[in-house]
């Protein structure tokens, strides 16, 4: 790791911090309170940001998996692993914040709404991915296994979303209601806040991913140095 890339990392960290602070300010103070839902709606600024990062992470797992299989370069494997770990974190945040929001608004902690269902399955795919990595840790082919599973899991996501939608279309009450509530009726301030919050989450995702990859690279270097010393 050269000093130059560390500088880039710090810059990314700084940008993340600015956006997170701005996002917090906007979500709590700048954005007006929603008439029907009241203050509780503000959790959606955090929720949607986590959703965006959670979805983005599986895309990175897919792309990194394909590149790993093509190049066999350890760097892509590190990216895929880090991205899957962050996927779990952001998906968990999204599920928990969604649940907290759903309790007062829908009156239930959980409902098999298409988006909730899809997200739960996505979360399970990430968990399975990490369990596979843990279970095959000593195998030199672990990177290939996880790349294959990552690709399969990511390709599964659109089909999960499609089938979850179709599943609920028999009783579309909730779906209609929420679609109305969130695609329409947003004031310009709300849209600005949303954009800042989603950007903040994505920046945080990239920053943590870069740190995670850096950590893994350093670990590999340490192992290589130890081996070299033991050989001498």
């Amino acid at each position: 790791m050269s000093r130059k890339s560390d500088g880039g990392l710090n810059l990314l960290g700084l940008a993340t911090m600015i956006f997170v602070v701005a996002g917090l300010y906007m979500a709590f103070l700048y954005a007006p309170t929603e008439i029907n839902m009241g203050l509780v709606y503000r959790i959606f600024y955090f929720h949607l940001g986590a959703v965006a990062a959670g979805f983005f992470a599986i895309l990175v797992v897919l792309v990194a998996g394909i590149f790993y299989l093509r190049t066999s370069s350890r760097a892509w494997d590190r990216v895929a692993e880090g991205s899957a770990e962050l996927g779990v974190v952001f998906c968990t945040i999204a599920l928990v914040t969604g649940s907290i929001w759903a309790r007062p608004i829908w009156g239930v902690w959980w409902t098999w709404d298409p988006r909730l269902t899809s997200f739960l399955i996505l979360w399970l795919i990430y968990i399975a991915y990490l369990m596979l990595r843990a279970s095959a840790r000593d195998d030199p082919r672990v990177a290939r296994f996880s790349a294959v599973f990552g690709i399969v899991g990511a390709l599964d996501v659109p089909l999960v979303i499609m089938s979850a939608r179709l599943w609920r279309s028999i009783s579309p009450v909730l779906f209609q209601e929420t679609a109305q509530g969130f695609t329409f009726g947003l004031t310009p301030e709300m849209v600005q806040t949303l954009v800042v919050c989603i950007t903040a989450n994505l920046l945080l995702y990239f920053y943590l991913l870069a740190q995670r990859v850096r950590l893994e690279t350093l670990r590999d270097e340490v192992i290589a140095l130890r081996r070299a010393r033991a050989a001498n």
Binding site: L69, I121, L124, A136, R141, V152
Partner: protein, 223 residues
């Protein structure tokens, strides 16, 4: 032509090995029957409308029992060292995948062929064979393809018996949803137009994952 001869040889090998002992298939059938029995008591199926819950029960029996067979398929190859033999022989990796997937599909289908009539008899439900059998055969294609790919992955991990369901179930959710919906549509005698969306999801799943599994399989088995 060579490619298809290789596939045929692998299927023949798997069938010969299974027919000699019939261990795997009989275990799968007994397990599927047990699932039907357990569900009968768990849900008290006598009291409820079986046309509503039946398709779910049937597919749980199919998938749980299918996983048993899929898990054995590569575990047996690994334990006896025959996978190395297959890899050393001049056989295309794609042919190994297709061969294993087809034989897995045949075993699961054979189990389903016994389970479905048992389900119909035990629950006194008349099963419309025509639309139902194609649905089950198509649903089993995607399940066998994914199961073959992920079975090969799971067989190389430490906790192989546990790993396969953990890997396979999350990624077969759309397939399972579509199969259950199509099956209940058939049992309830609904028109095809009502379930045609599910049919497209099932076909899409089969095509997407047959192609994907075929393409990535070599990375899983290569040492």
């Amino acid at each position: 032509m060579r490619f298809f001869r290789q596939i045929a040889a692998i299927i023949q090998k798997d069938l010969a090995a299974e027919l000699r002992t019939k261990e795997n298939l009989s275990a799968m059938i007994v397990f599927a029957l047990l699932v039907l029995v357990i569900f009968n008591f768990a849900f008290e199926l006598q009291g409820v409308d079986i046309t509503v819950l039946g398709s779910g029960v049937l597919w749980v029996a199919f998938t749980f029992s299918g996983i048993l067979g899929l898990g054995r398929s590569f575990a047996a190859e690994k334990d006896k060292g025959s996978l190395e033999g297959l890899l050393i022989s001049p056989v295309d990796r794609g042919a190994i995948f297709v061969g294993k997937a087809v034989s897995n599909w045949l075993f699961i289908t054979a189990m389903e062929a016994v389970t479905l009539p048992l389900f119909a008899i035990l629950n006194n439900v008349s099963v419309p064979w025509f639309p139902l059998i194609p649905y089950i055969l198509l649903g089993t294609i995607g399940f066998a393809a994914m199961g073959t790919l992920l079975g090969a992955v799971a067989a190389s991990t430490k906790m192989r018996e546990v790993m396969l369901p953990i890997l396979l179930f999350p990624v077969t959710v759309p397939l399972l949803m579509a199969s259950v919906k199509l099956t209940s549509g058939a049992i309830q005698g609904r028109a095809f137009a009502e379930v045609s969306n599910w049919f497209s999801i099932l076909l899409t799943y089969d095509v997407v994952f047959l192609v994907t599994a075929f393409l990535v399989f070599e990375y899983v088995v290569e040492e």
